[in-house]
């Protein structure tokens, strides 16, 4: 392939720089602008620490849920195609196309105490809205297709001959699933997990609506950052933003390096 021209390369670097590197660098610069002592103190801000804890608790439930759903629905769509599965294949992308605000509003309409079936839950003493379950629900919703979009193309590409061969060699379905299917899609799923994690800890709009944004109780890290900026405590906000950015960059780096290393070893198993 021909090397891209110098102009094209400069354009790409400028574009990525202006959109990504510069603002991200600004966050770092601002967070470190008051020195290490101030940063240390800001990291121990009580409201922010509670928000971090809540975000972690949300991620711990939302990410595995999304992986289970993503892998399951991918297998269903690829291996047992039907009219219904084809519809699901399209519908599953809706959360990506929909504004998170809409997602939040729809969830609230459905699950609020006077909502479509929120009233039924309320009668049972379950208050879904403005609580941990609501935040998990919104987080799963907005990241719904992130695992399956990685896994589906890979499942299609590898086909079912490996699984059928394993069957002729005497393997039972569960063994085939764990030794062949899951091993084949592991990296695609792991990449989907990383994207899901980044999305879940970074989600703002949908969570803002369904959580009620109650400081110290239902405030996630993103909501805490937002609240700090709104109350002119922008330094605290930048410190929170720094943490968020670090986690995302770290997650992508870890998965990228691990993938690259194994890819060199057994190139064949990856796309």
């Amino acid at each position: 392939m021909k090397r891209p021209s110098l102009v094209l390369r400069c354009l790409v670097i400028f574009y990525v720089g202006a959109l990504l590197a510069l603002p991200l660098g600004f966050v770092f610069q601002q967070a470190f602008s008051h020195g290490w002592d101030q940063l240390w103190a800001a990291l121990h801000n009580h409201a922010m620490d509670l928000a971090i804890l809540l975000t972690a608790k949300v991620a711990i439930l939302a990410v595995p849920l999304n992986v289970l759903f993503g892998v399951g629905v991918s297998l269903w769509i690829v291996r047992h195609p039907s009219k219904l599965s084809r519809i699901v294949d399209v519908v599953i992308d809706v959360p990506l196309a929909l504004s998170p605000i809409i997602v939040g509003l729809v969830l609230e309409l459905a699950y609020a105490q006077n909502g479509w079936f929120g009233s039924t839950f309320a009668a049972l003493g379950l208050h879904v809205m403005f609580s941990y379950p609501a935040i998990v629900m919104a987080s799963v919703f907005v990241s719904l297709p992130l695992v399956s979009r990685q896994v589906i193309p890979l499942l299609r590409e590898i086909g079912d001959h490996q699984e059928q061969t394993a069957a002729t060699l005497g393997a039972k379905p569960t063994r085939i699933f764990f030794t062949i299917t899951l091993r084949s899609i592991a990296w695609a799923a792991a990449y989907g997990v990383t994207l899901t994690l980044a999305r879940v800890i970074g989600e703002y709009g949908a969570v803002l609506i369904v959580s009620g944004n109650i400081a110290l109780i239902t405030q996630t890290l993103t909501l805490n950052i937002g609240a700090n900026f709104e109350s002119f405590n922008s330094y605290q906000g930048f410190v929170g933003a720094l943490l968020l950015a670090l986690v995302s960059v770290l997650a992508l780096t870890v998965i990228g390096v691990a993938r690259h290393r194994l890819e060199r070893k057994r190139h064949g198993s990856f796309v």
Binding site: T165, T168, G268
Partner: protein
């Protein structure tokens, strides 16, 4: 009888792929399921393996009915056309898979895998991953993996189709030698009649979900039961409205006993020479000559020759049809 099936019928989305077919495969034989694409031969192979459910009919292995047994209980070695290597496992781990499933102890397993790798001449590649192997090596890996479980029957779906011509030829005779050495009952699917004739003890020719003819390759070639079989197994030419194999006709000097033809074209095909001829009344035919025959007669375009049916000296020594040589459809 190692493998038998009867009345096997299968439809996909309303299209009949296999139309109630039956056959018996003898112990230790290599049978080629031969037919054009879409004739149902691969579907039949997967039904025998238990990978595709059938609509009706029965399949039995060594006299035991396995129609409803899952693939994992049939003890059949199966190789896909794409070899289906486990891409995340090394060659050694691929071959060991079936032994691990059978819980063969580690030391014994390693010994067996090494032996299999020697058998398929891949011992130097044991720790490579499938993507590092050539097509021929992957094919041998798939064979070793299938043989690891000591299957009663080996099923090969278009085993040489994805290989280039030279490797294909080498591997073909190697697989044949291995099959005879192990004495394992083998069914091989192919659309290549030359391959089938070269490798198989017995041909089963399928067309549109039915068996057109089954029998020894030489017998089927010389005595095709249907026009389809005749045309599919090799070139046919005609003289006086009757079909012949090209080598059955000979070119002679003009005389009373042979029909007179004018040479229209002479095509050199490697060792053989094809002579295209036209009769005065307009019918045309062609004759295949060996290099030596062509040198002797030296046919040129425009020259006139007689064409007649070569006298068959070996007609009495033709192999007699074996007990299960069957023909279906109308004979020509």
């Amino acid at each position: 009888m190692a493998v038998s099936y009867s009345g096997v019928t299968k439809s996909f989305r309303g299209r009949l792929v296999l139309d109630g077919i039956s056959d018996v495969v003898n112990e230790g034989e290599l049978t080629a399921l031969l037919g054009p694409s879409g004739s149902g031969k691969s579907t039949l192979l997967k039904i025998i393996a238990g990978l595709t459910p059938l609509d009706s009919g029965r399949v039995s292995l060594a006299g035991k009915d396995v129609t409803n047994a899952p693939a994992r209980d049939r003890h059949i070695g199966f190789c896909f056309q794409d070899y289906a290597p486990f891409r995340h496992l090394s060659l050694r781990e691929n071959v060991a898979y079936g032994l691990k499933v059978q819980r063969v102890p580690r030391a014994q397993r390693q010994e067996q895998v090494n032996e299999l790798l020697r058998l398929v001449r891949l011992e130097d590649y044991a720790d490579q991953y499938p993507h590092q192997l050539s097509g021929g090596q992957r094919q041998r890996m798939a064979l070793a993996r299938a043989l690891a479980i000591k299957p009663d029957v080996l099923l090969l779906d278009e085993p040489f189709a994805a290989l280039d011509a030279q490797v294909r030829g080498e591997l073909r005779s190697w697989v044949r030698a291995l099959q005879q050495e192990l004495g394992i009952t083998t069914i091989l699917v192919t659309h290549d009649q030359v391959e089938a004739m070269e490798i198989a003890d017995r041909l089963v020719i399928l067309n549109e979900g039915r068996i057109e003819q089954a029998g020894r390759p030489a017998f089927v070639y010389d005595h095709p039961a249907t026009d389809f079989v005749a045309a599919f197994l090799g070139p046919i030419t005609s003289l006086g409205g009757i079909s012949y194999r090209p080598h059955e006709l000979e070119l002679v000097a003009i005389n009373d006993t042979a029909d007179a033809f004018t040479v229209r074209d002479v095509v050199r095909l490697g060792f053989e020479v094809r002579v295209v001829l036209k009769a005065d009344e307009g019918t045309s035919t062609w004759v295949q000559l060996t290099h030596d025959q062509a040198k002797q007669l030296n046919p040129k375009v425009g020259q006139r020759f007689g064409v007649r049916v070569r006298s068959r000296v070996d007609s009495s020594s033709q192999s007699a049809p074996s007990s299960h040589e069957t023909t279906h459809g109308s004979a020509t």
